[in-house]
């Protein structure tokens, strides 16, 4: 199955909203850090339901927010979730961005970057579309140090790139970014049942679940275009 078919499927079965709910706890913390100024133009790479862009419009006076997604059904759903005329969606691929040079102030991406066929090319593309001083906030739950994510690629027919913290920093720099920050953002809100309730279907021990959410959480890497 192609990336597009896989995620079209997710979108039509409502998984876009499920992801929004699961990702929001850490995404909102990272979004708060973005140095968005009133009227800035934001790109949401692999936007899914588009919640991140809508949040930046609602809380940070972002000027225009564009979501790019490879799945037409994701983009269609996202379009349906808002009436805001300063929010727009585009179907496109991470490796050949249909976005003009220097046209974006900041780029956001949550749980999407590692689906790029050639993630280094995607980073290079981002240094092209971001203006000097523009940032790329790249948030992922699937990464090397998060051992609890290692099996995720078995549940999806799409290739996934599993980099370590160090590989993220190196790849950002190779592509021409300065690395400004790297952080593990814990999800403090997901409910973790009492010891007695374990094993759960997904978690053998409470300890593992605590490590996954409260300690590893979401890996954020922030690149800045020189």
């Amino acid at each position: 199955m192609s990336v597009r078919e896989e995620f079209d499927d997710w979108a039509t079965s409502g998984r876009d909203r499920g992801m929004e709910e699961r990702h929001w706890n850490t995404a909102k913390q990272a979004l708060m850090r973005m140095p968005v100024e009133p009227d800035d133009t934001i790109l949401d790479l692999g936007c899914g339901s588009g919640y991140a862009g809508r949040a930046l419009r609602a809380t940070r006076e972002a000027g225009r927010v564009y979501g790019l997604d490879g799945s037409t059904e994701m983009a269609r759903n996202a379009t349906g979730y808002t009436d805001d005329e300063n929010v727009g969606y585009v179907v496109g691929d991470f490796d050949s961005l249909p976005i003009a040079d220097d046209s974006i102030d900041h780029c956001w991406s949550m749980e999407a970057f590692y689906y790029a066929t050639d993630p280094v090319e995607t980073l290079r593309e981002l240094t092209r579309v971001l203006r000097p001083g523009g940032t790329f906030y790249c948030a992922v739950n699937y990464y090397e140090e998060n051992v609890h994510s290692h099996e995720w690629d078995q549940f999806i027919s799409v290739e996934m790139t599993r980099w370590s913290r160090r590989q993220y920093r190196d790849a950002f720099r190779d592509a021409g970014f300065h690395v400004a920050e790297q952080d593990n953002i814990p999800d403090r809100e997901v409910t973790i049942p009492d010891e007695a309730d374990f094993p759960l279907e997904e978690w053998d021990t409470r300890e593992e679940m605590v490590e996954r959410y409260r300690e590893f959480g979401t890996l954020l890497t922030v690149g800045v275009v020189p």
Binding site: R64, Y66, T72, V90, V91, D93, S96, P98, D101
Partner: protein
Amino acid sequence: MKESLLDILCCPLDKNDLELEDAAYDEGEVIGGALVCTECGERYPIEDGIPNLLPPDMREETPA
């Protein structure tokens, strides 16, 4: 899509400007038509108001 979206879009292949053709409008929004590369002439469809700017070979993969 709003026409202002064109400000930030380009051809995914050669990054040149796009021109709106055969536009259909509804309440100030572009809901159909195509975006055409001013350089290579590649046509990108606008479906239900959403421009599809996948590179042509990826677009063709689609079953629907």
